[in-house]
């Protein structure tokens, strides 16, 4: 029998004690693993949400006149629009470079019309692209087919139309297939139809008023790539202006960055606390065994022998506890994540985290039992016997 056997035998015989020890370590490590993996998943989720659209840019014809409106409110006293338009060819070009970065292309043709002697704007759009760029769009009813339109909420109110009604535009009859729920922007005031339909209706084949485009795919924003794409487009299509949009989306990204810092905090707190749980468990276990240490000393064990026995035990317990803690932590995280509404990010088995968990628990387990084992080993054997 050597010292390792003593450790193993002790663990085998004192099953309940060992169970509690392992439970303590499992709890500490479970907490760390659960919270770390949920926090990481949460962070990923938040980033995904914010980057869902990527970097937006607006492509317009170069113009020498200034804005005549703000937030969709016009100051113009007469109907006015850019005489110049963009050639639809740019859309094909954008599709060409789509593989390299551009992800969603939303070309639009905007045309003033008069319906029941009311001046309105019709936007010919590509509905698939619009819905991808504007996840907040909610069409009540159906998306339009041929000879169908969708109305912004205010446009519908003004014209007194509901889904299923018909409306004459430029001499053609259209069916209202759906109403766009209130967005709070100028989009509420427009009439939408498919882009080719609008181009045919207004006899403006191949013409585009402006394009909203996500020039960088989600999560891959890169200022240099962005500038290269813009330059490439502007060089190839003179008379076209490509401007990246800066708005609140950018500012909101900071929030996610803060969350990243927060996740560090949570992990630190949890690690410290997990360590303390392991520490108190180990310390109380060693303290209880003062008498046993007395027996070892009495039969001639050196202090180093005793410390070795205790550390072997601690190591076995910590590794077992760490491994169980890792598995139960991930399982708990998987179980808890559905409670976090719509958390789409999968919590997976993260071997790096597992290794870290086991290393941490063995390290803390060793440190935590080293001190009390050292104290106990130094005791006078007679004292050790008395302490019961």
């Amino acid at each position: 029998m050597h010292l390792g056997n003593i450790a193993v035998n002790n663990l085998k015989v004192r099953k309940i004690k060992v169970l509690f020890l392992i439970l303590g370590i499992v709890l500490g490590i479970t907490t760390v693993v659960t919270l770390t993996s949920i926090t990481l998943a949460m962070q990923e989720q938040l980033e995904d949400n914010l980057n869902a659209v990527g970097q937006l840019a607006i492509i317009t014809p170069v113009s020498d006149s200034l804005s005549l409106s703000y937030n969709g409110v016009s100051v113009a006293s007469t109907t006015s629009y850019q005489s110049r338009t963009i050639s639809e060819k740019i859309v094909e070009k954008l599709e060409d470079i789509a593989g390299q970065g551009v992800s969603v292309i939303a070309p639009k043709l905007v045309q003033p019309v008069e319906i029941d002697s009311q001046k309105m704007l019709v936007a010919g759009v590509n509905f698939d692209s619009e819905l991808r760029l504007k996840p907040y769009w909610l069409v009540k009813g159906n998306l339009p087919n041929t000879k169908q339109v969708v109305l912004g909420l205010l446009a519908a109110e003004r014209l007194g139309l509901a889904a299923g009604d018909t409306v004459d535009i430029n001499g053609s009859r259209f069916v209202v297939s759906g109403i766009l729920a209130e967005t709070g922007t100028v989009e509420d005031k427009l009439i939408y139809m498919a882009l080719p339909e609008a181009q045919r209706l207004f006899k403006r084949a191949g013409e585009i008023t402006f394009i909203e485009v996500s020039i960088m795919p989600p999560g891959k924003e890169d200022v240099y790539r962005e500038q290269a794409v813009i330059k490439q487009l502007e060089d190839e299509f003179p008379g076209v202006n490509v401007v990246p949009v800066k708005d609140q989306k950018q500012a909101r990204r900071d929030i996610v960055d803060r969350f990243a810092k927060f996740s560090v905090l949570v992990s630190v707190v949890v690690l410290v606390i997990g360590g303390l749980i392991v520490l108190t468990t180990m310390m109380s276990s060693v303290k209880e065994r003062t008498r046993e240490i007395g027996i070892f000393r009495a039969i001639g064990f050196r202090q180093s022998h005793i410390i070795k026995v205790f550390l072997t035990e601690a190591l076995i317990i910590s590794i077992v506890g760490g491994v169980i803690g890792y598995f139960s932590g991930i399982l708990l995280a998987k179980f808890a994540s559905p409670f976090i509404a719509q958390l789409d990010v999968q919590i997976g088995w993260n071997p790096g985290l597992g290794l870290a968990a086991v290393l941490t628990s063995s390290f803390i387990g060793l440190i935590a039992s080293a001190y009390p084992a050292y104290l106990a080993a130094r005791l006078d054997p007679v004292e050790a016997f008395r302490s019961l």
């Binding site: 949009v245 749980i277 958390l343």
Partner: protein, 385 residues
Amino acid sequence: MRLDSIAINSLKRRKSKMLFMILGMILATATVVILYSITTAMNRELAETFDEIGANIIVMPKSDGMSLSYGGVSIPAAGSKEVMLTNDDIIKINTIPNRDNIAYVAPKVLGLTRYQGKKITVVGVDFPYELKLKKWWQFWGEKPVAVTDLLLGSRVAAMFNKQPGDVINIGGTEFQVAAVLEEQGTEEDGLVFMHLLKAQELLDKENELSFIEVAAYCTTCPIEDIIADIENSLPHARVTALAEVVKARQQVIDRFTNFTYAVSLIVVLIGALVVMMTMMSSVSERTAEIGVYQAMGYRKGNIFEIILTEAMIIGLIGGTLGYVVGIAAAKSLAPAITNMQLTIPWNPLIGVSVVFMAVVVGVLSSAYPAVLAAKLDPVEALRYI
């Protein structure tokens, strides 16, 4: 001697045992308190920051008609404009019942004027609030302060070749270009921003507002309530939530709130387990002692009374200390690591519920091994030496 004095003596005279038990309690409750208070503070802070970024409510005059512009195509307002927003409406928005939830009110007047023979659109704004609302705005030059200070959109500056510090004469008034806005990719690039009252004077729209942007905090009351409040105060206005912002808030803040709940739930669960483990291991060590009591003729109820009294005292002390340690730790840790001004309050309600939880879990989890031990035949129990 009564049964509770046995419990008290047990705690007083087994100091290191009691220390470990209390330490376990403190760890468990402090973890719950630290993580709960930091996540809720963080959540509140994030929600407020989020709500302060850009407007989430827009107020327009109802009779605005269909003046609209999209993609550079504009059509003029139809019909009369006798009903409009006025400066008084700003005060009305600031005095709604839910006024505490109003972060910023940013009124605007829009008008057309001419400069060097070209049509320019002037936007009168309340600069301090406008700049707080548009946190993403970056500009060259100084913040506009004086009534005659201007903020030029990038295309306006380029077209007239103006830089910060240049003087511009519009409609007979000398204005100073305080700053030029970085290219935004929006209509803002082609606008001239001006002090609100000066713009109203210049455009001959005294007291008139084109629309008002409002940033409201939506943590304590839903945006619909705030909108209803504003609509009540301004019957002549159309008040709309910006769907995009509301959706984004749902995705980020609401999810974060749920995350906070999940973290709290897990932490409470684990805290309870730590307490349970501490108490259970302590009681299971005392099986032999329980055997002695049984042999002396103690009923099970007597034995539970002793052990549960101890658990209650440990729970009370550990829970209270854990709460204090937890809040203190959260206060000192949170700002350093999150880089945020988090206010973590002493919340007595949380204190009381944490202590209550510690006591209940402590009592229940020591009851279980006590029941097991008391179920043993005294002879069996006495073997556990």
